[in-house]
Symmetry: C2
Subunit: 526 residues, 2 copies
């Protein structure tokens, strides 16, 4: 049964604009979008599209192709991929036929796509919405429907070559959006596993201990240690030993030499492999000139189970200044050691990813000899669109200039007196000429409109140029082209109709400051 | 319970590539997308994106803004909007909280958005997927998940002004995609209602009789008449009288004069209003120079209940040549009268829409005086992306040239012998320079690769230019820039590294035939 009272209650919390619909001849429910979802509109769409366009051309410049998978998948595809978060998956009602669920991320559908089509290597990007039945926190930008923006490289290649390129893409993606005060926290699952082994954590406990370590960006060490000892019953000395390792962070070179100084670590197969892989990558990071953005950080663990190699997370002070006590406490603590990343601690990540070599294999069958097909190794990055969006929206001065429409020309008719028709079909004819030339144009949808109303509409649209059809001038084949916002004494130019499109195009180039659109300037603003 | 056998059965029908997964260490289900859905990939994505881009810039040129609504809505929002088709709505499982369903179209969410935000006027476009639990017919392009591409104008304006602009947008949309052999069937709900009234159809029967008339593009008149008389029990003389009217079609002017010759029609309030509105529009259609595309057709009824004014449907011979007997029969019949639209009969529509003045009102509450708020009149058009896509994909010669990637430059290293490193970091450095200049570039993810492998990869990517790092040349700061596909004797140019980006950009302009990209040429091909 439909629970109207709950709907009402939620709507009051979430929908300011919702219209109360108490009376009988109105719909018997409150007008709103479902909990945790929102409409995007107005200049927000202009800004968001510009962010997508920037990332799309970046992905293309690296040889990426895009795919589009269904918004829902067979439930089996998603099950067993997200651990305890599986409870957040949206199921579609069983209306007969297959059981399906809304996608939880873009990574599992990508792995399904690669396995299903027997693809051996691909660089793919995918920008689309994903769905999680989580407790929404609109203010924090945590929604039930939100965008993910992923680039992944699948295939067997020389060690760390695609991994390094993904970090180059991550860096270019942020720099291109005018974000330069970020750090990329880097770690390696094999090194972490090695650390846990030498610290005496049993294989069964590795994941839960790892998830405790992962909280080090939000909680001080003492709290994390307590969680290990009390909740995850690790011996205190084990926790302390883990502490000595996970507090290590700094430049790749520094941390590598620190790690190598621990013989027990270098004698651990897993740790040794991870350390060698990071070593291999350093040369590539320098070739891409991005090494200065990297902070090699033993406390980065990342939640998802499926990571098998490098993991990374880009953080910036802007993105979410630490607010609660624990974070402040941690900040002040960490400040005492010369810790590269400390000033970024407690800040939400704006992009993240890692290597996952076994996920595609989970979808692969066995060959005729009953031998399991080898998995396709993958490495990728996901940009946090909502967070990037809120960062860019802080650039108020530039944001104010953004318009929801792209209208460039407003077509007006001036006249009056006897036999004045309002020149509506004439305005339509002129609009048609401009549209066919690809020039964004509008006019008032009225047979007769006074100049004031037409200028107001032009100003509201924010378009730079007006084309004016004068009662006497137009019948002679002339229109007046006026650059707006230059004072009333500016009469504009009288132009022959057949030259109008060319003249308007020229004028539009002139009014474009430094050749950049307002939204381009917004993205590049620091 | 999950019905595995059904899944298996369906998968065999729908997924060629599905991997059989009989054995135990493989997933216990067949790898496929849900019934009626598909993955989009490869060059299909290039073509589809180009279609979206074309329509998006068209919509923007008319002052359109875009919105993005959630993929699911409160179930109440959708209920009572689609008549008997409501059974095709996808419901989300009740996992506690609100009852929600996947959107069935973009029009109802748009009306909800307008009502919820108290918007008095807006021109909005929306390109997004909609969901219908229909029997899929992949071959016919009927899917359960498919794109809609809508432009709608909401607001109170002078009569028929936005309506005419929507028809201009419909025309430009198709012409810009290289489709010029189309007709826009035009009709008016008020005229149809008037016809039914003068023919003696009771108000209660209007909708069901109308839905019978709507089948005239797929069935011959005799079958439609039988449906009216037998299934919808109308007196035979009523059906015959309806026949005399609904067979009328031709140019707007011709049909207008025919209709006006029926006094009983001109004495009918509804018909008179509709005829006058079409009369008003003719002047605007001529101003937009699109009148030659219009076929005023009394047999066009359109399924959806919510239309209240003009309705239209663009058809083309290409889009789906009639195959079944009924259609052939009808064609031959119709050929006997000089019927403008007859040669297009039985062809699926590639774009359609109409005026719906009451839909927003269904979401509006009442004011303080308990008076229902007035609705916001709307008129819009929806492009059938899947059909347009299949039309454009028939342009084989141009399609063959389309590449999934945009890669422009392939970076190679030539060398060998003692101390040959393979120049991998060096290739990365060069790639970084090109990427930072926005030039799409790739290289082999191998430390050392022989020239053959690198040329093969370049050819596979289809990129026009190679930048070659020679073992002797590169240390001197030189790279070789080679335009590909000009024979092996073409050595390319030796360029200083610091001039590479500029030189490559120049070369890329030169290789661009007539300044058009391959996909631009595909869209403009007839």
């Amino acid at each position: 049964m439909f629970n109207k009272t709950r709907i009402m209650a939620e709507s009051i919390k979430t929908t300011k604009k919702a219209l109360s619909t108490a009376t009988s001849n109105a719909p018997a429910f409150t007008l709103k979008t479902p909990k945790g979802t929102k409409d995007w509109a107005d200049k927000d769409m202009t800004v968001r599209s510009a962010i997508f366009d920037h990332l799309t051309s970046l992905f293309k410049s690296h040889g990426g192709v895009t795919i589009d998978t269904p918004v829902f998948e067979l439930r089996e595809i998603l099950s067993g991929k997200y651990g305890e978060d599986s409870k957040l998956i949206y199921n579609l009602e069983d209306q007969g036929g297959e059981l399906t669920s809304l996608r939880y991320d873009l990574t599992v559908p990508f792995a399904r796509f690669v396995a299903m089509n027997g693809i051996s290597n691909i660089k793919r990007y995918h920008i689309a919405k994903v769905y999680r039945r989580d407790q929404p926190a609109m203010t924090k930008g945590r929604m039930r429907e939100f965008y993910q923006c992923d680039f992944d490289i699948a295939g067997v290649y020389d060690s760390m070559v695609p991994d390094a390129e993904i970090l180059k893409i991550l860096t270019s993606g942020l720099l291109g959006l005018g974000i330069d005060n970020f750090k990329i926290k880097l770690n390696h699952r094999k090194i972490l596993d090695g650390i846990f082994q030498v610290c005496g954590v049993t294989d069964d406990d590795v994941r839960k201990v790892s998830s405790a370590v992962d909280k080090l960006d939000k909680l001080p060490w003492d709290d994390v240690k307590k969680e290990m000892v009390v909740e995850k019953n690790q011996p205190e000395e084990v926790a302390d030993k883990i502490g000595t390792f996970v507090k290590i962070n700094g430049t790749v070179q520094d941390v590598l030499s620190k790690l190598k100084s621990f013989d027990e670590l270098m004698n651990n197969e897993s740790a040794k492999t991870g350390i060698e892989e990071i070593e291999t990558m350093t040369e590539y990071l320098e070739a891409f000139k991005i090494d200065q953005f990297i902070s090699f950080d033993m406390s980065l663990a990342r939640g998802l189970d499926y990571y098998t190699g490098v993991i990374y997370e880009a953080v910036t002070e802007q993105s979410a200044p630490p607010t609660d006590a624990a974070e402040k406490k941690l900040k002040s603590k960490k400040k005492n050691n010369n810790d590269d990343a400390s000033e970024y601690v407690g800040v939400g990540s704006i992009a993240a990813g890692g290597r996952y070599d076994n996920l595609v294999g989970m979808f692969l069958g066995t060959n005729s000899k009953g031998k399991k097909a080898p998995s396709i190794p993958c490495v990728g990055v996901s940009f946090g669109i909502e967070r990037l969006f809120s960062l860019i929206k802080q650039r108020q001065a530039h944001l104010d200039k953004i318009r929801p429409t792209s209208t460039q020309v407003y077509i007006m008719a001036f006249g009056g007196g006897d036999g004045w028709t309002g020149f509506l079909p004439e305005r339509m004819q002129v609009a048609g000429m401009l549209w066919d030339a690809g020039i964004e144009s509008e006019y008032l949808y009225k047979k007769k409109a006074n100049p004031r109303k037409q200028f107001d509409a032009a100003e509201k649209s924010g378009c730079p140029i007006a084309v004016i059809l004068g009662k006497e001038e137009f019948p002679n084949g002339d229109v007046r082209v006026k650059v707006l916002g230059q004072g009333d004494d500016n009469e504009g130019e009288l132009i022959k109709l057949e030259n109008m499109v060319e003249y308007v195009s020229k004028k539009l180039q002139e009014v474009k400051v430094d050749g950049l659109s307002d939204v381009e300037r917004l993205l590049q603003a620091k």
